[in-house]
């Protein structure tokens, strides 16, 4: 019962944040509602027993990535977005299609997906277990990921460096 109440509460916060992201016109408001979505998703991960993933969600997503977003919004001084008219065809076919699709998927999931669930407080995904998996079974993907991150950092520095400065000229 507690599980259901917690899930419904934080799931509702999650959906409200996601809808607010769509409704807001200023990017900074959208970014803050995305932080709300990510924070409540971390609680949902905890309900599923994923302790490590919840911690990483808060630290990496809600912390690092969103700080980057807010930084760029502030840096570029982004104002309110202008609305453009959507096409009629999209409204005519998209909304009924989306309704049919979502009802179908929801019906299939509710009819078939009973499944086991994790009791509150049971945390199978502790950092110890995840770390063991990460450095035994997934060691090669882990090392490849580190190269990917290195390349991404260098790419970001090259892309964001100012072309007028000396350093930017040297880098092309």
């Amino acid at each position: 019962m507690l599980h259901l109440i917690l899930f419904l509460a934080f799931g509702a916060v999650c959906v409200a944040g996601a809808v607010n992201l769509l409704a807001q016109r200023h990017p900074i408001n959208s970014a803050l509602s995305l932080v709300v979505v990510m924070g409540s998703l971390a609680v949902v991960y905890l309900l599923l027993g994923a302790e490590f993933v919840a911690a990483v969600q808060v630290i990496v997503y809600a912390g690092a990535i969103m700080v980057l977003f807010v930084f760029v919004i502030m840096l570029l001084n982004a104002g309110e977005e202008e609305r453009t008219k959507g096409s009629k065809v999209a409204l005519l076919f998209g909304v009924p299609g989306m309704l049919v699709g979502s009802i179908l998927i929801g019906w299939v999931l509710l009819a078939r997906g009973g499944g086991r669930s994790v009791p509150v407080g049971a945390l199978p995904g502790t950092p110890k277990v995840i770390g063991w998996l990460l450095f035994h079974d997934f060691l090669l993907p882990f090392e490849v990921t580190s190269i990917l991150v290195l390349i991404a950092i260098m790419g970001a520095v090259v892309l964001a460096s100012h072309p007028d400065t000396e350093q930017g000229k040297k880098e092309g």
Binding site: A78, L109, A152
Partner: protein, 100 residues
Amino acid sequence: MVPISYYLILSGILFACGVTGFLIKRNIITIFMSIELMLNGVNLSFVAFAAQWHALSGQVFVFFVMVVAAAEAAVGLAIIISVYRTRETLNVDQVDLLKL
């Protein structure tokens, strides 16, 4: 006890919100945030299936998705900065030329 389907429906709602934002938003930063929302929805379904099958490798995949998302955010925001520098706008409707 919450059945796994509830988590999957929540994940589907988040993904659908991300797709909708990607399609209707005009600010390039907000479009990028919608992509992050979609990634979060997918991560939730990964964790839900990991809990259902008692397979912790699903949670390791979530870790990898987060790493790729972080790399993507860094590169994507750098691209947004350089787009703003050359075009002086963040509206995707006005960024419609491949050359300068």
